[in-house]
Symmetry: C2
Subunit: 201 residues, 2 copies
DNA sequence: AAATAGCCTTAATCCAGATCAATGTTTTTT
DNA sequence: AAAAAACATTGATCTGGATTAAGGCTATTT
């Protein structure tokens, strides 16, 4: 009998297959270890202070990974839409209370695996060591690009780059979210936009 | 016959062994694939525009990974001293011209492996998929901590944290280097230090 | 349909850190 | 040992972006 969860594992199988082709047994393993979960808009997948229990793959929707600093300001480290991973890796691996939060900006479906099931997966099929190595490499490269950007460009340049890199996100996110991603206040982002609109004429 | 290079692979064997114990054959593989190289102070291991050919492990000395922005300002992403890894991962994997530079701040000995030898290592001993997965996880966590820090703290707080995290580096680096790591000018770092000296009394 | 809360913009003022400049100090090179 | 280069400090001035505040707009909620 095929249930809803079985069907929705497909995007993840496709994703892994694109990295390294999987055998039938490996596909079965994935089906047994990853479980789908729905987060409604504004629901938390992880709250600051809790341990991050899951490695999440977004099938549909959009989530954000962020921190809130001492002054209450939000800083978004990463958005995750279709086919992206999202978790607090430090908390997940070290079982530390998370410094980061994850919540849904839209109704979002994820496929997720627990830490112990992931370890079990590595033991049963060492190919997943390789797959997750590659996956981490990609994740690291994205994060490093972002750091280089934060270091070396002005808020306006960062916004321009955001528009070029994530055109599909522009209409899905409020300016409050985009500002928190760029590392500026919403007021200043508004100013950037009006400045750009003027000089575009 | 045992030569100098053989002897110096030991720190790397120790490092891997601490992550996951190695068999004799795996140790031999390491010895055949990693080669030591000496960089004199100020010598480049990677220059912006070239492809990053090596995955480097620092045995002795100190290197920095940095970028130079359009205005000629230096931004240091990472220092690597004894038992740290240093490379431009994006350039190494994608064979893109590097945006980053690596050079030696002291006379430095590294053990390094080429991209094709690393792929060969993964094929001959899948345990290295796991070892490098863990290694990348650690590298990612360090980088993310740094990003969170850059986002949410003032220059003075970042300097305090630098002192706590890397006390052994304070006397090995000039303030110019530390300032480029913190993301401020040397002038402003000097100011922070004098401010802190005053309030300590 | 009204009420409430969140979103976006504009303007006035403020501040952390940059820039420019001058001077002294330490290190490296010759 | 002298000269050159890099490093460190201090002061005056400037600026990108924050903060505060107010008004209009747009979604949810009731």
């Amino acid at each position: 009998m095929t249930d809803v969860a079985d069907v929705s594992v497909q995007p993840l199988l496709d994703y892994f297959n694109r990295l390294i082709p999987l055998s039938t047994e490996e596909k079965e393993l994935i089906k047994s270890k990853f479980h789908s979960h729905l987060f409604l808009k504004k629901q938390f997948a992880l709250q600051h202070g809790d341990v991050c229990e899951y490695f999440n793959f977004v099938v549909r929707g959009c989530m954000r990974l962020y921190m809130v600093d001492d002054k209450g300001v939000y800083h978004i480290l990463q958005f995750a839409t279709e086919n992206y991973w999202i978790l607090d890796l430090t908390s997940f691996h070290k079982k530390f209370p998370a410094k980061l939060n994850i919540d849904a900006l839209e109704d979002t479906v994820v496929l997720r695996i627990t830490h112990s099931d992931l370890l079990d997966l590595y033991i049963r099929a060492p190919k997943f060591d390789r797959i997750f190595r590659v996956l981490l490499e990609n994740h690291f490269m994205l994060q490093q690009q972002r750091m280089v950007q934060l270091f070396s460009s002005t808020a306006e340049e960062r916004y321009q780059l955001f528009l070029e890199t994530y055109p599909h996100l522009l209409n899905r996110l409020s300016q409050v979210q985009i500002a928190a991603y760029l590392g500026v206040t919403p007021e200043f982002l508004s100013r950037i936009r009006s400045r750009m609109a003027k000089s575009d004429k």
